[in-house]
Every structure is written in C-alpha cells, then in structure tokens.
C-alpha cells in the first residue's frame, strides 16, 4: 500500500491540490481567494495530464533526437524513448483557456469592486439588499 502511494505521488498530489482548490472555491468568502482556488483547481488538472504522459527510464522529448534532418533522421522511431507529447499539447490549449477564464473572472471582480467598493461576498450581498 505504502509503495503504491509513493510510486504514484504525482497523482496523489493532483488529488490533494484539486481538493485544496475546490475547498477555496466553495468555502472562502473573498472573491480573490475564490479565484486563487480556481487556479489551483485548474493547475491540478494540468499536473494530472502531464503525469499521464511520463514514462520511466530516461525518456526525452520527441524533437530532441532524430529530428530536423540531423544525423540518424531516418531511424525508425521507438515510441518507448519518448514521453507522450499529446497531453502536453492539450494542456497548452487548456492553459490558454484557463488564462482567459482568469482574465474574465478578474475583470468581473473589478466591476464588482467599482460598484460595491468591496470584494467580500457577505458585504456585497448586504449592499445589494440595502439597494
């Protein structure tokens, strides 16, 4: 059991990070803290995807060897030598999406701050109720 936990530490880290982010999004009353939680949550997913592409035993990135017509460009490609590039590419796209989400969330926070002069959720709700 202990061996299993240690050998998959990156997956445990992803679950832990995700729970921390989830807690911050749900329980924190400050909007910026919620945004930070959202970022931790999303980063955990990046960690998960990148973990799935790793192979043990000195693997490298596909473009480092046998590429760009260098010596040995005509060798057959042995996939066991390379980390899976696809999750990395997917995560590049996901990072772009997450940055856009962060941007929109912060922009909405600015709108809220200009209107209510606070970023505490309770105080905002109070001032909406007061009309």
């Amino acid at each position: 059991m202990f061996e299993f936990v240690v050998s998959h530490y990156n997956y445990w880290a992803y679950v832990g990070l995700m729970m921390i982010g989830f807690y911050a999004m749900m329980a924190k009353r400050n909007l910026i803290k919620k945004i930070i939680g959202m970022n931790i949550f999303q980063s955990a997913i990046i960690l998960f995807y990148i973990s799935t592409s790793v192979k043990k035993g000195g693997v490298t990135v596909p473009i480092l060897e046998h590429a760009h017509g260098g010596h040995g460009a005509h060798h057959a490609v042995n996939i066991m030598q390379y980390a899976n590039p696809l999750p990395h590419v997917l995560m590049l796209t996901a990072i772009v999406v997450m940055v856009a989400t962060l941007g929109v969330a912060v922009a909405v926070c600015i709108m809220i701050y200009r209107r209510y002069n606070t970023l505490e959720e309770d105080e905002i709700i109070m001032s909406i109720k007061r009309g």
Partner: protein, 496 residues
C-alpha cells in the same frame, strides 16, 4: 465549396466576430447589420447541411485533411444537424430582435455586445458540430466565457451573479476535462467514434467509471440540473434582455445535447443503460428537478426569474426522458430539446419587450398589458400554452411522447411529475395572464408602474416581428411534429 460547408458554419461567426470591433471603429451602426448577415449565412449553411444529412446521411469533415483519430473530425449526423439549425436560427432571430433593447440597455457598448454575441454563437455551434472530445471542451469554454461577458454587463447585481456562474461553470468544465483525461489514458484516443470502438473491452474498468462520473457531473453543472442549478436563476434574471433571450434557451440545451452524445456516442447505450444504473439516477434527478423547478417558479414575483425556474424544470424533463431509456421517451426528450429551445426563446423575447417598454420584469407591473400590447401578449400566451402542453402547440407533443415513454418504462413517479408540472404551469401562467388581462392600468399597484403607463404601447416592429415569428413557429412545429420526428429524430435516437 459545397464540401466545405460544415466548417463554414463555425468559421463564419468566428471570423465575423473578429472583424466586428474593426467595423465598429468605422461605423457603430453597421455592427448590427454585420452580425445579422453573418448569422443569416450561418443559418443558411446549417439548413443546407440539415437537408444534406437527411438526403445522404452523416457528413464527416476532416480538418486540414488529417484522417481521424489523429486529426480533428467534424461529424454532422441527424442529431447535430438538428441542433445546428436550432442554434443558428434562434441566434439569428435574437440578433434581429436585439437592436432596440441593446441600444436602450447597453448604450455605448453595442459594438462589443455583437462581437461577444457572435463569439458565443461560435462556441455553441462548435460544441454541436465537433466529433472530438477535447475540441468540445475548447468550444464549451469559448461559449461559456462569452456567456460570462454577456451576462456581466446586465443590471445591478449581475457581476456578482456572473462571478458565481464563473466559479460553478469552471468546476463543470474542469470535471468534463478530467473525464476526457481518464478516457484518453485508457484508450489513447480523443475521437468520439474511435473511443466508442476502443472502449467496450474496458467497460468493467474503474477508470472508465470515474470518467463517466466526471463527464456527467461536469455536464450537470453546465446544464443546471437540480441541485447544481443555483447559478442559473440569478445569472439569467440579471442579464440584459437580449443576452437572456440568447443564452437561456441555448446554453442548457447544448449541454443536454453533449450529455446525449456522451451517453450514446462516446459510450454505447449498452453501457449507459444496462451495465450501470446511470439512467435510473437520471430519471430521479429529472423527477426532482421538475418538481423543485415548478414549485420555485410558483414562489417568484419576478417574471424573468420565474422563467428561469421553468427552464430548470424543463431540463428535468429532458434528463428524465433520456433516463427512461426507451425509444419513445428518448424521441420525446430530443423533440423536447427543439421545442423547449423555441418556447424559452419566445418567452424571454416577450420578457425583453416588456422590459423595454415598462423598464421592469416584475409581474406586478404587468397590469393591463393585454390591452396595450396585444401582439406581444399573443406571443406570450402561445409560449405559455406550449409550456403547459396544450395542443396544437409543440410542447404538447414532446410531453405526450415523454408520458408514453414513462408508461412503457412503468415509471409512475416520473409520470406524476410530468402531469403535476403541467398543473403547476397552468397556475403559473394564468396568474400572469390574470394580472395582465383583468386588472386595469389605472388600478396599477405601485407608482413606478403608473409613471410609465402613459407611454406603454405596442413594441417596435424590429422586436415584434421576431417574437411573433417564434410564436408561429411554436404552433408550426407542433403541427408538423410528425415530419420532424420521422425525418430527423428517428435517426438521432440510438438503437436500443
């Protein structure tokens, strides 16, 4: 050129959204026309695709000529062709309708409104047309992000409602992404058709169970299924009228479409229905959503908020209908996606007109509206009758198929929920009709309403014509529902 039409459906609104701010720099007023031309072209392409699909069957389009599963593939089958037409035609109608209400509610932000509007439509269309799981996530986020922006510019309280929607929506999208990740690590593929072929050997794997749980949980947030609907009423009530007319009918329906795709295309119906108790849970989720949505709608004094809870209940219809898992119920659920999109857009356009004229969406300000705007209220009554389920409006037929499906599945609780929901809708809408018809404006309750009564008359034609068109199409879809069923939906339902 004809072969490129599937990609044009997505590319036209995307490119025109990029050019919209540039055109706005030159002539502000042109943005409206530009959006309409783009969406009209898009609607033409979608209708053309629908007829092509009806004539020749599923269309596969390879992006950049890369063969699937390595490249991204766009797949248009009967279900997605129908959804493409729903999205593009409704967004065209809302765009035509939006001119006056955007000028009134969002002065000085017209250019950006239409830019984001087109981006939103791009997201919706992309979700529907793509045959790739990760591509779907990207489009889901394009649609959601544009939606956040469109809602945040609404009335007081909209930014906070939007912020909550962002938090919930991000959780939903991230769960979907995680589910896709689990599918990818167990199959090595992201193409839906390919995944369907590769998965059956793995159906007893725990990774796949986790994947399907994450996918459905994420989509439940996006489709506002009870109890994760809490973001919806606030966000759609406080959004500008044109935004809620666009997003309220489409966003939830698109997520329901994705749910049907995941259940029956990515996984085989065999897994979703027989091996796992997913569909049983879905029927009960739908049951609770219908009842809670209806009861919460009864408690509202705000017209738009009431409609939002009606949307929550309608989501329950479709989730429950799919969960009944027999051919007639799923047919009814798919037909209800079409019907509910049309009914909801009809009611929200009416809410927008009333907001435009009376500056309020509170039901108590509706006094004497039937006399002052008879055509608008005609559209409202048609929409209301359709939600209640009175023939020959379209709402009756999908409800009828759902009831038949519930009888075949012998799921009496869901049947009772369907019938109760009709009764609740009767109370709900006749309350509004009573206030609008019986009470005269001179007796109007609060000073706010009476202050405006002198100026309230029929809506401008640019708003009225789209609204009446929707009301007529509610009746037409009802009358021709057999043609729609036998030509389109019969092929969209999986063989069970």
């Amino acid at each position: 050129m004809i072969a490129q039409i599937p990609i044009l459906i997505v590319v036209i609104p995307l490119i025109s959204s990029l050019f919209c701010p540039l055109i706005g720099l030159w002539r502000r007023g042109l943005c409206y026309l530009w959006a309409i031309v783009a969406l009209a072209l898009c609607a033409l392409a979608s209708v053309n695709t629908l007829f092509a699909v009806i004539a020749n069957g599923t269309i596969h389009y390879r992006l950049g000529g890369w063969a699937p599963p390595f490249g991204i593939e766009y797949v248009v089958d009967h279900l997605s062709a129908m959804m493409l037409v729903i999205v593009s035609v409704i967004s065209l109608i809302v765009a035509v309708y939006s001119k006056r209400t955007v000028e009134q509610e969002l002065p000085g932000r017209v250019v950006y409104f239409y830019t984001v509007f087109l981006l939103q439509v791009t997201g919706f269309l992309g979700i529907v047309i793509t045959g790739d799981l990760f591509n779907l996530y990207v489009f889901l986020e394009i649609g959601s992000l544009a939606g956040y922006a469109l809602i945040a510019i609404g009335e007081d309280g909209a930014p906070l409602a939007t912020f909550r929607y962002i938090v919930m929506g991000t959780i939903g999208a991230c769960f979907y992404l995680l589910g896709v990740g689990y599918i990818y690590i167990s199959t090595g593929s992201l193409n839906m058709a390919d995944v369907q072929q590769l998965l059956p050997q793995l159906y007893d794997s725990r990774v796949i169970l986790t994947a399907i749980a994450f996918l459905l949980a994420g989509l439940a947030v996006k489709m506002a299924l009870f109890p994760v609907h809490v973001w919806l009423p606030d966000a759609y009530t406080k959004a500008p009228s044109a935004t809620s007319a666009l997003i309220a009918p489409l966003m939830t329906k698109i997520s329901l479409y994705v749910m049907i795709r995941v259940l029956f295309t990515v996984f085989k119906p065999h897994l979703s229905i027989e091996l796992l108790p997913i569909t049983d849970i879905m029927v009960w989720a739908g049951f609770v959503a219908i009842l809670v949505g209806g009861i919460m709608a009864l408690a509202q004094t705000d017209f738009k908020r009431m409609l939002c809870y009606v949307v929550v209940a309608e989501v329950g219809y479709i989730v429950g209908g799919v969960g009944l898992a027999n051919t007639i119920a799923i047919k009814g659920a798919v037909l209800h996606i079409l019907n509910d999109a049309v009914m909801t857009v009809g009611l929200f356009t009416v809410a927008g007109i009333i907001m435009y004229k009376t500056k309020s969406h509170n039901i108590s300000d509706f006094h004497g509206l039937f006399k002052k705007m008879p055509f608008t209220m005609f559209a409202f009554v048609v929409g209301a009758l359709s939600i209640i389920g009175v023939p020959p409006t379209c709402g009756f037929f999908s409800k009828w198929y759902l009831i038949q499906g519930a009888v075949i599945a012998e799921h009496w609780a869901f049947l009772i929920a369907l019938l109760l929901s009709s009764l609740i809708s009767v109370v709900l809408f006749f309350r509004v009709i009573e206030i609008g018809y019986v009470f005269q404006a001179s007796h109007g309750g609060n000073a706010h309403a009476t202050g405006h009564t002198a100026t309230i008359d029929e809506a401008p034609l640019s708003m009225l014509i789209p609204t009446i068109a929707i009301a007529l199409s509610i009746i037409l879809i009802g009358v021709y529902n057999q043609a729609i069923l036998s030509n389109i939906i019969a092929f969209a339902v999986p063989r069970l």
